[in-house]
Symmetry: C2
Subunit: 183 residues, 2 copies
């Protein structure tokens, strides 16, 4: 895993309340499970989606910020202006296996994911337009594969502290336990 | 990438027509983009989903089989009986980074993905129950991260032959071209 000191933000563009709730939820949960600390939802304001992701974070532990972002372009301008590195994942970009080794690990990172139609400005403000394969597939898959390569993938159960539930890895079946309170 | 000779099948359990079309579509497209050759949809029969994935495969090239599987347990019994290796991705399983190095690359592989509630038999018939992190996230992310580790991730544009469209990787913007017919 990347050192915990690096901040990773996942920014989901163009969310549509009626159509996208499951994909956006999967993006938020994937961001959390793969070590991001912040998930920003742009597009429609969707309180049940935001609170659903927040509930998982509360039950399973760890620090994770989830919120709506009214102005994703403004956010990115400030983020890049303050020294952050913005990576836009798009099937039109440069091959991820080529780009990832050149990305720093000592600056804040923002990973930007479309949306059905991403305005041209996002291709310009992001310093890197990166393709996880040049085939149509899935924003969720792109995020997971990118973070697998960039920072070593999904964190183990011990990385999330303070939750009410924890999974104990097992060869067969399910072992989900309530966390023991420290008294 | 894994040698092309290895067959990789992705089996999606418990599809529900009304609720799951986008997640199952993302799974099918991710399977294709990350080098699987077959996508089997169990649960509800959903002809528009199957033909939607088939259309992408036709437009963007390569060999990819997509079909409904009426009896996923029967399929897995035959698959394992014939020498295949079945890996069930579940947040309750053993850590993927530990298991993947022990998996063979010279036998057919089936990757099994739930479904809201996976019957116990699937945990038993699959030789490996593997967790891509023990946190709740996404079947699509689990598939992508697993294949990133197991076989090197998303294939480049040149891996898919015979399509009508091809993406040319670019640093800024979009470069989608119609393939030139060979005459």
């Amino acid at each position: 895993m990347t050192e915990k000191s690096q901040s990773i933000t996942v920014l989901r563009l163009g969310h549509r309340t009626g159509r996208d709730p499951r994909i956006s939820t999967h993006l938020g949960l994937t961001a959390r499970a793969f070590g991001a600390d912040t998930f920003l939802l742009a597009g429609d304001y969707d309180s049940s989606l935001l609170s659903g992701i927040g509930d998982v974070a509360e039950r399973f532990g760890g620090e994770f910020e989830v919120r709506h972002e009214e102005s994703p372009l403004g956010f990115l301008r400030r983020f890049v202006g303050a020294g952050g590195v913005a990576v836009h994942l798009t099937m039109y970009g440069l091959p991820y296996h080529d780009v990832i080794p050149s990305l720093p690990h000592d600056k804040p990172l923002a990973i930007v994911l479309g949306g059905a139609k991403v305005p041209r400005e996002f291709f310009e403000i992001c310093q890197h337009n990166v393709a996880v394969g040049n085939q149509p597939h899935s924003e969720v898959a792109a995020l997971a594969a990118f973070l697998e390569c960039y920072s070593g993938g999904a964190a183990g159960a011990t990385e999330f502290e303070g939750g009410k539930l924890e999974v104990h890895p097992t060869e067969r079946g399910k072992d989900l336990r309530e966390s023991v309170d420290e008294e």
